[in-house]
């Protein structure tokens, strides 16, 4: 176990959520307040059913609720994640209005009150021009550190549709953060919607694999060579076999994607990072060390993922790391990845 404490850590994924739509109503204009009243849209999010052991309780909905959590761990920086706009709807205008409201609420309720805090700019994949506008609106605020999208998009994230967002992300140095889950009702599988939460919960890794391959294969990093992507709450122990296969197949069919000039895994290792929750690892410390060596500890960034509970994988991961690697996972890699955004 490392001698380093969480005090100097960067927590890349700490959840907050409005307790009800009433919390964010003041940040919406009259049209959207009446729309919410008339349409019965809600905040309920199938990714975190309140009774499930994995949910771990309700995310803080006020600074007073967050402060004890923050003070207990006392990280150097914590990046807030608010997924409230990914409700059950397909209205791009509502999504854009909710993104503005949620971001303003996060800023006023949390960011302005505590220097340890940063947040992701929540945007919706339903309307990319609106997402670009929202990033530009907040780019100079100085308290936002990434652009937050659900890992379950409507089209794979390598698609040209998203490129204007990547252009603005690169311009301002914002990493694209793809967080587990997506809008309510988004199928976790190409073959359709699952019947159970168990399947849904277990599916984020396979969705992340699709997105990882899409971003590389569609040439996003050829077009945006400074762009960074972080997969949040999607696991990482699946990387070695997936990257091996990705490289191997690329060698045979590279002519389809001549803009992919290097091994796919080279792009992944240069441009992508993965947060440590959930750490889906074996029990045996020697096997954990082998997995970590194959993944590369330099790809991992610490996230508490509070309040969600994915078991004790992270503790086992930390125990298997050298002091130097533990320091990188807890702080150093995030400091380099986010740079001035969390300085």
């Amino acid at each position: 176990m490392t001698a380093m404490t969480l005090t100097a850590a960067v927590d890349c994924d700490l959840h907050v959520a409005p307790s009800s739509l009433g919390t964010v109503l003041p940040y919406l204009d009259e049209y959207w307040r009446s729309y919410i009243e008339d349409s019965t849209v809600g905040l309920s999010h199938p990714g975190y059913p309140l009774g499930a052991a994995t949910t771990g309780g309700t995310p803080p909905s006020s600074y007073d609720e967050l402060a004890p959590v923050l003070n207990a761990a006392n990280p150097h920086r914590a990046i807030l994640t608010c997924l409230a706009l990914d409700g059950v709807h397909r209205n791009p205008y509502y999504a854009a209005a909710m993104a503005r409201a949620v971001n303003d609420w996060v800023r006023e309720e949390f960011l302005v009150r505590d220097e340890r805090l940063r947040a992701g700019i929540a945007v919706s994949p339903l309307d990319i021009p609106a997402a670009v506008q929202e990033v530009e609106r907040l780019a100079d605020d100085g308290r936002f550190a990434q652009i937050l999208l659900p890992v379950r998009g409507d089209v794979p994230y390598g698609n040209r549709l998203y490129h204007p967002l990547y252009a603005v992300a690169q311009e301002h140095g914002f990493p694209i953060a793809l967080h587990a889950w997506g809008r309510g009702g988004k199928a976790p599988s190409m073959t359709g919607v699952t019947a159970t939460y168990l399947e849904d919960y277990s599916s984020n890794a396979q969705i992340a694999q699709v997105q990882m391959m899409s971003l590389v294969a569609e040439g996003v990093f050829t077009r945006f060579p400074q762009l960074k992507v972080v997969f949040m709450e999607c696991g990482f122990s699946w990387l070695p076999p997936q990257l091996w296969r990705f490289d191997k197949d690329w060698k045979g069919v590279w002519r389809e994607v001549p803009w992919v000039k290097e091994r796919p895994s080279d792009y992944v290792r240069r441009h992508m990072r993965f947060t440590t929750e959930p750490a889906q690892l074996p029990q045996d410390p020697h096997q954990i060390a082998q997995v970590v060596e194959m993944v590369g500890p330099e790809l991992l960034m610490y996230a508490s993922d509070y309040p969600h509970q994915h078991g004790d994988g992270f503790e086992r991961l930390l125990a298997a790391l050298s002091d130097e690697d533990a320091e990188s996972v807890l702080r150093g890699t995030a400091a380099a990845f986010y740079g001035d955004l969390i300085a």
């Binding site: 040439g219 050829t222 077009r223 060698k251 045979g252 590279w254 994607v257 001549p258 803009w259 290097e262």
Partner: protein, 154 residues
């Protein structure tokens, strides 16, 4: 050692011959008037490299915008699609990938060839014709034309 492959007229542009030299199988290619020879054994898993597709280099700086240019001198192994440069034998799927043996090829006049050259045996599939040899062999005559030969250097 010089090995005569064939008359130059027997290997016209955009055609190839796979020949046997001792125990080695070698593909000899005429690409746009340039001759290349390369081992017919893919170093990956031993696939018959030289029956694979020839392609030019493909270049792209922007997704969706591709330029294909130059002579088609990259041969792809039919087993896994791994490609090798006919001129150098170099695979280009990353810096650490193994290359394949490439041989020097030249066109030499028959008069210039010394008598100690070896002759490559063209490999044909035994089932290429699918027919049993008949009982008769008609008389044939050697025909020789003073011409240039494709010669590989082993």
């Amino acid at each position: 050692m010089k090995v005569v492959v064939c008359h130059v007229e027997d290997l016209p542009a955009e055609e190839r011959k796979i020949v046997k030299v001792g125990k080695r199988s070698i593909g000899v290619f005429n690409v746009d008037g340039e001759f290349y020879a390369i081992s017919n054994r893919c170093p990956h898993q031993g696939g018959p490299l030289c029956v694979g597709r020839l392609s030019s280099w493909a270049e792209s700086e922007i997704p969706g915008e591709v330029e294909v240019g130059g002579s088609a001198r990259f041969v792809a192994c039919p087993w896994h699609g791994w490609e090798y440069d006919l001129a150098t034998g170099q695979s280009f799927m990353g810096p650490n990938e193994i290359g394949v043996k490439a041989f020097d090829v030249c066109v030499t006049s028959g008069a210039a060839l010394s008598e100690d050259v070896a002759h490559a045996e063209e490999q044909r599939s035994p089932t290429a014709t699918g027919r049993e040899p008949g009982p008769y062999v008609a008389e044939t005559f050697q025909v020789h034309v003073e011409a240039d030969y494709v010669v590989i250097e082993i």
